[in-house]
Symmetry: C2
Subunit: 227 residues, 2 copies
């Protein structure tokens, strides 16, 4: 019988690691839309050759976050205003579905994580930091989607969120929206959601979430109109 033995990193682990890192960099604006990525540089950064890296890039391209052009480069995509609106409308409807299809009151572990996030966001209100805000957003959405047991729905909500995340952060920066204020609104959303979940009202939690998606989109539109 072998010792359990630290499972050493397999090909899939490396892939997941590279994928997560790059996706976060894109979604958190470390690579703003339009940025050109160098396969060579990224490969050497991750200590591999271009071949495994390209697998990651292909995946990110299939999710609409990247676009490769032969002989030119690999670019972080931007999103035009029309598609953004369609995506937000769809996200609102899907948010509502989160409370309808297989409502799944949080188990203790999930509850724990959501409360921990609430505390972290409150703490962030004092020292606003747009990037950290984005990170907590990603984390919260990820955990929140656990309120449905419908896996395909979770996946879709997550992908659509990640696709709009960076545009939202970008417009926040461009319109000089008050980060501290957004953080407070976000903290309030989490607490509202937690109150609903505390009494097992998953449907209401989903509707609260939907409301906040709608309002954050509206704030974004108003702010960009002022420019």
């Amino acid at each position: 019988m072998d010792v359990p033995a630290e499972a050493l990193p397999t090909a899939r682990d490396r892939f997941d690691r590279m994928y997560t890192v790059l996706r976060n960099r894109i979604c958190l604006l470390d690579y703003p839309p339009g940025t050109r990525l160098s396969e060579e540089d990224l490969a050497s950064e991750f200590g591999t050759s271009r071949t495994p890296l390209r697998r990651v890039l292909v995946r990110l391209e299939s999710e609409g976050l990247l676009q490769s052009v032969h002989g030119v480069g690999t670019f972080v995509t931007d999103v035009e205003i029309g598609e953004l609106e369609q995506t937000y409308q769809l996200r609102m409807e899907l948010a509502e579905l989160l409370g309808v299809l297989g409502p799944n009151p949080p188990d203790p572990a999930l509850w724990e994580r959501l409360q921990a996030l609430s505390i972290e966001v409150r703490a962030l209100a004092n020292v606003p930091d747009a990037r950290r805000f984005g990170e907590l957003n990603v984390d919260f959405f990820h955990e929140f989607h656990g309120i449905t047991s419908n896996l395909p729905l979770r996946d879709i909500c997550e992908r659509l969120f990640l696709k709009t995340s960076r545009i939202w952060l970008k417009s926040m920066a461009a319109a000089q929206i008050d980060v501290a204020k957004e953080v407070r609104i976000f903290a309030d959303e989490i607490d509202e959601v937690l109150r609903a979940l505390a009494i097992g009202d998953v449907r209401s939690a989903a509707l609260i979430h939907r409301t906040h998606i709608s309002m954050s989109y509206t704030r974004m539109r108003l702010a960009s109109r002022k420019l």
Copy 2:
């Protein structure tokens, strides 16, 4: 000024071609779930090396149609009953959304194509053929999704449909469901949908579609229960 000159196949064209061919083979049961695909064989079939082919496989894997295992092989995925039910429930809700988000009455070209499909399906009723049935299904769904102008929604509906298509065809074969009967039901759905669209009632067309998704899932469940 150059002659328009037959654009010769670029890398992207080759990719699209291979992707479409393989996806159809998976969704139409030419490669039933569990089939092992040989990268070597497929590469030589398409007249390329493994490298460009693998790009296609990675994409299909990211869509959940394939799964590659190091040192073992690349396999067509199967879907367990639980996820299938979740997917169908989600598809029903999304079908309804098709009539709500950006309802888009068909333009003459789309109308033409839908009517042509109606005729083809009617013709098929006389000479039942499961694979051709699957093909027409894929075509119809693709065109039908044009009733919404919401592109992300279209994409999602299409992907979810393709993911369940082969399972449905497979269970039809396994339970020895009468193909001719299914074809007639399908033809009736198309005609109902066309009647709704003829008077510009996109919402009703979407609800009719939703109804048929629901009923076809129920028939599938009943048939598999009898086994």
